[in-house]
Amino acid sequence: MQVAQLILSGVAQGCIYGLVALGFVLIYKATETVSFAQGEFMMLGAFCGLALIVGLGFPFWLALLGSTAAVALLGIALERIVIRPVLGQPVFAIFMLTLGLGYVLRGLITMVPYWGIETHALPVPYKGQVWNLAGLHMSAEQGVVIAVTAGLCALLYVMFRYSRIGIAMQAASQNQLAAYYMGIPVKSLNGLVWGLAAAVAAVAGMLLAPMTFIHANMGYIGLKAFPAAIVGGFTSLPGAIVGGVTIGVVESLSGFYLPVGFKDIAAYIVVLIMLMIRPNGLFGEKLRKKV
């Protein structure tokens, strides 16, 4: 019973890691760069949602859509203005750039008077409710996280499988040059991928906010999502979610059963083990480039 309870909490937390990791993987698949600004997109999504609900009086679900759209646009804009000019430079340069981008976004938020440096609670319609399922306690926040993650994954699956844009993204991620020759606008697609990754992060932010409050440093969770992406395999979208849930469950169980302090390092121990036995992650493909 205790184990089931712990696994449930772990799955809920893991879904958040998985959503942020999904953004990492989306961007990596399309452009072979890692974006360390994902955590900050999540934070911005949460602040945007807060602004819409508290500032403009939007209902929660409308604010969710609104903040997702807004942050997606921001992602597209940032890709166009900041990242695209740097493509072609060494990989290290680009990921330092995204790291710096994260700092800048965090700094900008703290410059917003009064709002930026305070911690806020997000008013959600399901706040404080606790559901009782066959003896297991699940807070409504956790339930919504799991449900929305599942829904989002289904949506993304349908998009990648059946829509033109989704198929084009897959093609571009497999071989950019070939896709370009087939007439696929690879450059604009990259922008869209950034937008999509930012949108997913924004959703994660809104889901996380009722559980952890909204503040400028909430993006640090990106540090845990990176191991999740590695565990799942950096080239696999479902892997990102599975990786996230794995990390979440391991953390939850180790926090209860192992001595104090193990919870904080559990994610990294899992990553180390994974890198030793299966460097491509659970679902990653072994890629080789022939010159």
Partner: protein
């Protein structure tokens, strides 16, 4: 040859003259750093944007309010205070850089109310080495006044003293016997853990469960599960403020309405963030913003008018009191204000209190220790209410 020698001689004379003039000029200034004819420069290193900005914000307001009050009353012996506030973000590295900037660029006379044990530990030696008074840090560690140094003065109660009050109240008045603790895994949190263990030992008890979290952690589910499995009847949250609200919410989500005590977090933000989950939460503080004497009510109205939101709260009380203590010490020192005369001036302070309800503060030669009184608070009907105190640490069972 002779011309060459003569020119050399003239040249060295010229340089000696210039050197003499420079020395003379600097002696004529005879400046103590941070003091001019018209102002005293004070520096403060607070957390204004990091994980403890929830305390830093009120602290800043308290310090500004006190500074304005002092300056509007004419300053100290004709000098106004210029307060320079800086943000450490609760990051020790940043704290050190900022302290160095305050010391060497802004040339402050004293550092007041630095926030955070980790930052105090790192920056206090730097200040003392420079001969700069390091006064009244908001840090629950006795490094604020020990080992003794003329330029160190404490104000914030140590973890041990504060925890003694809390444990004794929970043991004696609330009848708690199974204490669990959730502490932040850094210096401050570790000192809270040690304090809890020490004070429980005095009652012949041990902690039934101890759990930790890293600063910035968002998920307390596993920790709460452990505390629940250990059947704790009270959970002490050590040195966390925002996390107190999160843990309260988490315990309710687990269907476990256990009593909780936050010995260092009686700020209003905890109530705003925690909502109905924090109803009944216990807390402790050295300065209560109650009872509502007429003088305090007027004070609070002015405070509300100045800052546009609620009255003064925990941590603001420290900021305010720290500046008022400084002013008192500087007044005692007289017009010839130096770090040494300030130290002696502060040592003359006996039974000092501001409009805010709090311990009577007394210093003396060889005694720069933090005052030792606390109030027990509880969240009732969405407000922090004082339910016991002042309780003097001396009265505790040892």
């Amino acid at each position: 040859m002779r011309t060459h020698l003569f020119n050399n001689c003239l040249s060295s004379m010229r340089w000696s003259l210039i050197a003499l003039l420079a020395v003379g000029a600097s002696m004529a200034q005879a400046q103590v750093q941070g003091i001019t004819d018209t102002e005293i420069v004070i520096g403060a290193v607070l957390d204004l944007s990091g994980p403890l900005a929830i305390a830093g914000g009120p602290q800043r307001d308290g310090m500004i309010f006190a500074t304005e009050e002092i300056n509007n009353a004419g300053g100290i012996h004709g000098r106004k205070i210029r307060l320079i506030l800086e943000d450490s973000g609760y990051d020790t590295k940043k704290g050190i850089l900022i302290t160095q900037k305050l010391l060497s660029q802004d040339k402050v006379f004293a550092l007041v109310n630095t926030f955070g044990s980790a930052i105090v530990q790192a920056t206090q030696p730097v200040a003392i080495e420079h001969g700069i008074p390091f006064l009244f840090p908001s840090a629950a560690s006795n490094i604020t006044y020990l080992p003794f140094h003329p330029l160190k003065f404490g104000l914030f109660a140590t973890s041990n003293d504060h925890m003694r009050v809390v444990v004794d109240y929970a043991y004696g008045k609330l009848g708690k016997r199974r204490f669990g603790i959730l502490y932040q895994d850094d210096e401050t949190g570790q000192s809270a853990l040690r304090a809890a263990e020490d004070q429980l030992k005095a009652h012949g008890l041990t902690l039934v469960e101890r759990t930790s979290y890293k600063r910035g952690d968002t998920n307390f589910s596993a920790q709460v599960s452990r505390l629940k499995a250990a059947n704790a009847d009270i959970v002490v949250v050590g040195h966390s403020i925002r996390e107190g609200a999160s843990v309260a919410i988490e315990t309710k989500a687990h269907g476990w309405p256990v009593d909780m005590m936050v010995p260092w977090g009686t700020v209003n933000a905890v109530i705003t963030l925690g909502g109905p989950a924090v109803e009944g939460l216990y807390g402790a503080t050295q300065f209560a913003v109650q009872p509502q004497t007429t003088a305090f009510k007027a004070f609070n109205e002015r405070f509300k008018a100045r800052f546009g939101h609620g009255g003064i709260q925990d941590y603001g009380t420290y900021g305010y009191t720290a500046m008022m203590l400084f002013a008192e010490g500087a007044k005692n020192a007289g017009r010839n204000l130096t770090p040494q005369s300030l130290s002696q001036g502060l040592e003359k302070i006996k039974n000092f209190k501001t409009t805010i309800e709090g311990p009577l503060i007394t210093y003396g030669p060889g005694n720069h220790a933090s005052p030792a009184d606390a109030y027990i608070m509880q969240v009732r009907a969405g407000r922090w209410v004082q339910i016991a105190g002042p309780i003097a640490y001396e009265n505790m069972a040892k």
